[in-house]
């Protein structure tokens, strides 16, 4: 190594720099660290107050007065007692017992020390009392001030010996005072060097003393005795009172955020206060919280509360979170709590760590301090947080850009950070070239548009809200807040956008990209040469085109602009590099008809493959929708809306073009379909208006809308437009159909709904006046109303837009009616034409009475004339006419003579108002004969007769009898009563020539004053008519009384209910034969329907009640009927009234019925009874169905 090398090595600068470093190190160590090593308790010195010595010889108590000074505080009284051969019992001062500190005993020689904290000031007696007998006592009382009242003494030390010097070594300290007590029994006590004798006395032969010496680490208290002697000594150090300085939390500032370069800010507040006196804080440590908080601070200082006074020196650019203050002005402390501040100053943006920075949560408290007094207390553990915001905001997003002609368009979305600076928060740097430079905006700076920063130019400084999409033009036509100086076409420019927060922090920037302006594709305008109303104009909303199929509906659009380049050639107009777009829809190449550098013409022909309506999808153009891509660039967009187009209208089959009727649910005449393009779907807010009225939509698709012709269209308005507004997904554009729609007449009904020929009828409907003026007369084929059967109405009553009133023409039949107005035909609506011809009569009836309650059955006979014929008449739905019943009655064998027209032979009843149904009647007087008849109805309407067909009664043939007229009663002849018996008679008569009923009335009174069936005649007996009706009549009368005369008459009624009574007045008579003892046979029932009789006999008791009195029984027998059962002995035994039993045997075999007639000899007449006993054979049984007794007897009537 050469000298110059050493010289280099030990150059003056280096040496000085080393010295400086060492100096700084020592300075740091001694100024910052030593104070901590030097910390000790701050103590006031103990001060001696007064001393008094008392002695006594041969006593057991010593009393002497000691005066404690009044001016001192923190007092302590020490009494040193020297005795021998005794012990100290107690020591009091002013009557207050003192505490023994220590006692040293050397045989008989005793030294004892006592203390009293805070003794009363003034003169008080010290009383030393010994235990035991008296002795020599020396006591020295010393008082002190400034003594620690809590621990006034150190550790007492005792020592004893037999020597010429007494000593005791006491551990003490500066500021303390060591006091001792010594006792010896010989010599003279002489206080040691450095000690201050506070008392020395002799009591008898006892030597005692006390001294003090300022405290030190170790203090030996000694006395020279003068000769070797036994001694005892006690020493103790008196401790001074302790004084402290207390640290406490102040009123801390609130949390806040400060920006780099911000002003000095309060971080923490603390207070200092001494417990006594004043103090001086000569050192202080602040500990910051928050990771690396110190990096954000340029200055930390301790000031007075108001910041006016700086203590210590400000610590600049702290190197750690522990900041030590020492040198400089110390903090004065007094017994008054005083607040001080820790204050911080953020670094400037420039001195802050480079982006992305951090956010520093700075907290800080005083964690240590240096003072004379003892340090006590703490600062707050949860201080305020001062945030030094050096955190970059989040960067811009969604960056993009496009090149233009001497300009670039740049897009971005601003930072989403909450503290994004809404003023000048976005700064765009532009670098000329294909890459961005390293320049960034200076932290905390506010950029200026157009300013240079190295190679970067501030292109834009934009104020906006956070998270806001922005699009700005840099260059020609530049946006506000951006440069407007034209950029150089062909020159690449690179852009980066920076985001700034409210504390001036920038992010690192987001690269937008590189864009090269060029003489680009620009659309300046376009014209719709097909529909010029849709030409482009600035910010237009009514511009664009309709799309449609073929030359009839497509539209031609010519775009003008620049940069379109050379004609790409047929077939190349719809490529990635050359195309025309409306929104996302790229026009098919085949629809592009011309292309030059400044003009392009294309068609909107949906018949071209790729450009059909379906190919447009949901695209309906819109703002900036039209773009041209050519030469590698894409133009900006011009507003271009795709309008709807109604290209055709479908009307119902059979309708003329562009015609329809108002809607009706009954047919489809009122539903038309609009065909076209770009209607939008679904309907949404779309609508269709027809002749000014909103139409109800049946279905809606983007090329097809089925609508109902509104019924709200005025009936006098027959022609008008169809227009529609686009539906969902569109801009609500409209179109009006090119042609005019005609609303044809529609018949909706008739008033009345049906009618007969000649009847007034109003044809109701709408749009009946197609020319706008209603016809004043019929004109065949032009203005007319035609009924079915091609019968035109001829009665012209009135004609309005909604009703044509006419009359049902003659010859019209039920069927469709069509109205024509100006040759435009209505719909066909059926009208019911009613007939004036009455319906065939029904319910034909023939009656005996006018009330029509006594019907004559078919073929029946009437006995009185006239009879009454009836029919039910009706001419359906026809009013205003009269219905007349007509009848033709002819005898059987005479043919009906009436035909279809009027008939003089017909009998006619009174008329009834139509239309019926109603019953018409007529009386008919005929001679006795048999008849048939027919009926019809005559309808007279407007003096015209309409006849129903003839209907024969009951549908009977002409040779069948409908009714018979018979008005003559039958003739009665040959009435005879024959030869009456004793109890009976037979009456006979004849109605020859006519069958009739048979009836006899008879009684014994001979009066037939009543009417038919003996009514009103008490004795009369009437026999009901016999059937069938006969010519020869015979009636048997029985139960007559014998020998009695009876009156009678006969009656016969023919089928016509003509009755003959014979005799007409009076009566016939006959008399029965007389018989005094007539014989009778009477049967009495005994038993019947018995259960099976078998085994034992069965007994039946019965009575015989004769119907006559005084009877004589002539004979009697029992008739037994039953069923015989198989088995056993086939025999039955019978007896009555215990007469001899008769046994009746039967053949063996199957069961069979039996009948036994058992003669009885004697019968008891009631009230006496009889007994029948029946005994079946052994093992046999039978059922009795009946057992009767027959009695033949005679009596006198």
């Amino acid at each position: 190594m050469m000298w110059r090398d050493y010289r280099k090595l030990f150059s003056f600068k280096k040496i000085m720099r080393s010295v400086a470093v060492l100096s700084l190190a020592f300075t740091f160590v001694f100024s910052n660290l030593m104070p901590f090593f030097a910390i000790k308790e701050a103590q006031a010195a103990v001060a001696f107050d007064a001393a008094t010595t008392g002695t006594v010889g041969g006593a057991n108590a010593l009393t002497f007065s000691h005066t404690v000074g009044a001016g001192g505080a923190d007092r302590l009284l020490i009494v040193a007692v020297s005795i021998d051969n005794r012990t100290v019992q107690s020591v009091t001062y002013g009557g207050v017992a003192m505490t023994n500190v220590g006692t040293a005993t050397n045989g008989a020689q005793i030294s004892s020390m006592w203390r009293l904290i805070a003794p009363a000031t003034g003169a008080n007696n010290v009383v030393v009392t010994l235990s035991g007998g008296g002795t020599d006592i020396v006591a020295v009382a010393t008082s002190y001030t400034g003594v620690d009242q809590t621990t006034p003494l150190g550790t007492p030390v005792t020592a004893t010996g037999n020597s010429v010097t007494a000593s005791v070594a006491v551990t003490s300290a500066t500021g303390e005072i060591v006091v001792d007590s010594v006792s010896s029994n010989l010599g003279t006590l002489t206080v040691g060097e450095g000690q201050t004798q506070r008392g020395n006395g002799v009591g008898g032969d006892n030597q005692g003393g006390s001294s003090t010496e300022p405290g030190a680490t170790s203090v030996t208290m000694s006395w020279t005795i003068g000769s070797s002697s036994a001694w005892a000594s006690v020493g103790v150090s008196i401790k001074p009172i302790v004084v402290s300085t207390t640290l406490a939390d102040g009123i801390d500032p609130g949390n806040s955020t400060v920006a780099p370069s911000g002003a000095i800010t309060d971080l923490d507040a603390f207070t200092l206060q001494t417990s006594a006196g004043t103090d001086s804080v000569t050192g202080l440590t602040v500990t910051l919280t928050g990771a690396n908080s110190f990096e954000s601070l340029s200055d930390v200082r301790i000031t007075s509360d108001n910041g006016a006074t700086l203590y210590f020196g400000a610590v600049a650019n702290p190197a750690s979170n522990t900041i030590v203050f020492s040198a400089g002005t110390p903090i004065p402390v007094s017994t008054t709590a005083t607040q001080f501040k820790v204050r911080i100053t953020p670094k400037t943006h420039a001195n802050m760590p480079v982006p992305p920075g951090l956010s520093y949560a700075v907290g800080g408290t005083v964690t240590a301090f240096t003072s004379t007094n003892t340090q006590a207390g703490t600062d707050a553990t949860t201080p305020a947080t001062i945030t030094v915001d050096n955190l970059s905001p989040s960067g811009a997003t969604a960056v993009s850009g496009t090149a233009g002609d001497t300009k670039n368009t740049i897009n971005w979305t601003t930072s989403s950070s909450a503290d994004f600076n809404t003023t000048s928060g976005s700064v765009v740097y532009r670098w000329t070239g294909a890459s961005a430079g390293a320049e960034v905006p200076a932290e905390g700076s506010t950029e200026t548009i157009g300013a240079l920063n190295g190679t970067a130019t501030t292109a834009c400084v934009v104020s906006s809200a956070a998270s806001t999409p922005l699009s700005k033009i840099d260059g020609t036509g530049g946006s506000a807040e951006c440069t407007t100086t034209a950029l150089t076409n062909g020159q690449a420019y690179t852009y980066k956008v920076f985001q700034k927060d409210t504390n001036g922090n920038y992010d690192v920037g987001t690269l937008i990209g590189t864009f090269t302006p060029a003489v680009g594709v620009t659309i300046t305008s376009y014209t719709n040469t097909t529909e010029t109303a849709l030409n482009y104009a600035g910010a237009c909303t009514g511009c664009g085109a309709r799309i449609g199929g073929g030359v009839g509906f497509r539209q031609s659009i010519t775009i003008t602009g620049t940069g379109f380049g050379a004609d790409p050639g047929v077939g190349n107009y719809s490529t990635a590099t050359n195309n025309i777009k409306v929104g996302t829809k790229q026009i098919a190449s085949a629809n592009v008809t011309a292309w030059s550098a400044t003009s392009i013409t294309f068609l909107t022909d949906t018949n071209t493959a790729g450009d059909a309506d379906t190919d447009w999808g949901a695209n309906y153009g819109g703002a900036s929708a039209l773009t041209v891509t050519a030469g590698g660039g894409t133009s900006g967009g011009l507003n271009f809306y795709v309008f709807p187009q109604i290209t055709s209208v479908t009307v119902p089959v059979g309708f003329g073009a562009d015609t329809a009727r108002e809607y009706s649910v009954s047919d489809t005449d009122g539903v038309i379909t609009l065909n076209g393009t770009r209607f939008g779907s679904p309907q949404g807010t779309g609508s269709v208006t027809i002749l000014g009225s909103t139409a109800t939509i049946n279905s809606w698709a983007t090329t097809s809308i089925a609508v109902q012709i509104p019924t709200a269209i005025a009936d006098t308005t027959n022609t008008g437009n169809i227009s529609m507004t686009q539906g969902t997904g569109t801009s609500g554009k409209t179109h009006t159909y090119a042609n005019t729609l005609r609303i044809l007449p529609r018949i909706t009904g008739f008033t009345p709904t049906s009618g007969a020929e000649g009847g007034a009828v109003a044809v109701n409907g709408n749009h009946f006046c197609q020319t706008g003026t209603c016809p004043g007369a019929f004109s065949a084929g032009v203005n007319d109303v035609v009924f079915t059967s091609a019968v035109s109405a001829t009665t012209f009553t009135s004609w309005t837009a909604t009703a044509m009133t006419t009359a049902v023409p003659t010859g019209a039949v039920t069927g469709n009616v069509v109205l024509k107005s100006n040759s435009f035909a209505s719909n066909a609506l059926s009208f019911t034409v009613l007939s004036n011809t009455p319906a065939s009569p029904t319910s034909l009836g023939q009656w005996r009475n006018i009330g029509l309650t006594q019907a004559i059955a078919t073929g029946g006979v009437a006995s009185t004339t006239p009879i009454y014929l009836s029919q039910v008449m009706e001419v359906p739905s026809i009013t205003g006419g009269t219905l007349y019943p007509q009848f033709e009655v002819d005898p059987i064998g005479t043919a009906f003579t009436c035909g279809a027209g009027a008939c003089a032979q017909a009998t006619e009843g009174i008329g009834w108002a139509g239309p019926g149904p109603t019953t018409g009647t007529s009386s008919v007087s005929v001679a006795d004969d048999v008849y048939h008849w027919q009926a019809r109805t005559r309808h007279n309407k407007a003096s015209v007769d309409y006849y129903s067909p003839w209907v024969s009664y009951g549908g009977n043939a002409e040779n069948a009898t409908d009714f018979q007229m018979d008005t003559t009663a039958p003739t009665i002849t040959s009435v005879s009563s024959g030869t009456p018996g004793t109890n009976s008679a037979t009456i006979t008569w004849s109605t020859a020539g006519e069958i009739a009923t048979t009836r006899v009335e008879y009684d014994t009174a001979g009066t037939f004053t009543g009417g038919y069936d003996c009514a009103g005649t008490a004795e009369c007996t009437a026999l009901t008519d016999t059937a069938p009706l006969v010519n020869a009549h015979s009636v048997s009368l029985s139960n007559l009384n014998s020998g009695t005369t009876y009156h009678y008459r006969v009656r016969s009624m023919d089928t016509a209910r003509n009755e003959k009574i014979d005799p007409p007045t009076g009566d016939y008579t006959f008399t029965t034969s007389s018989n005094l003892s007539p014989s009778k046979t009477t049967r009495f029932h005994i038993a019947g329907n018995t259960a099976s009789i078998s085994g034992a006999s069965n007994s039946y008791t019965f009575s015989v009640h004769m119907p006559e009195n005084a009877t004589t029984t002539r004979s009697a027998f029992v008739e037994l009927k039953g069923i015989f059962l198989v088995g056993g002995t086939p025999a039955i035994g019978m007896t009555v009234n215990n007469e001899a039993t008769s046994t009746y045997s039967f053949p063996s075999g199957s069961r069979y019925s039996l009948k036994i007639l058992h003669p009885v000899s004697s019968i008891n007449i009631a009230p006496a009874t009889n007994t029948l006993i029946i005994a079946p054979g052994a093992g046999n049984g039978f059922y009795v169905s009946s057992a009767d007794i027959y009695v033949n007897y005679t009596y006198t009537p």
Partner: protein, 219 residues
Amino acid sequence: MNELIKKNKKAILIICVGLITIFLFVLYFDGIREAGRSALNIERSINENPSPRVLEKTTTSDGRFVVPTGEQIPLVSNRKVTIANGKTLKGAYSVALPEALIWSSDAKLVYIRSLGTVSVDGISSGWEIVFGSKIKKEGYVVSVIGGLVASKASTASKSFGYDLPKNWYDSGEAIRSISSLPQFKDATISGLNFYYNEDGKKWGYAVSSSLGTVSVPVR
């Protein structure tokens, strides 16, 4: 027989393969028309000779009513229908117009109506072209059948014709304007008129379709 089959086994196999191939070809290209593969029925020609109508009178509104004539032709089909010796509506008009002008120098068109089948190209074998003349105060019906004037006759008419739009598109364009719309995918046409809408004072085509009468305005 078995011996014969054995001897001609190879020939039989070839014949069978050939027949199967032909069957599959026919099935594939002609079996499913809608598949769009019809190779055997690409085109069908209609040869018809409709008769002219005798009109006692005509009105303008008659032109609105399309009388179905000829066959019903699908608007969208893979099988093209051609009309032998047919003409488009404008083509027939150009044939009839000289005759009308001979009839009356001020002859103007009242309406044109198809008389035969109308193809989707708007071609029909027959057209009825009705003119009117204010001078003659009557109408004139020229029937063009097979591309030639088949008949011409005066008729009563209160319509004396109307001016035609310039460059009016032909019947084929009118049909294509509706055939391109999806709602007419399955529709057929059976007649076509060129009519004058007196209400709107505009000409238009009226197409008789299976969906109804479709009016297509002419601008």
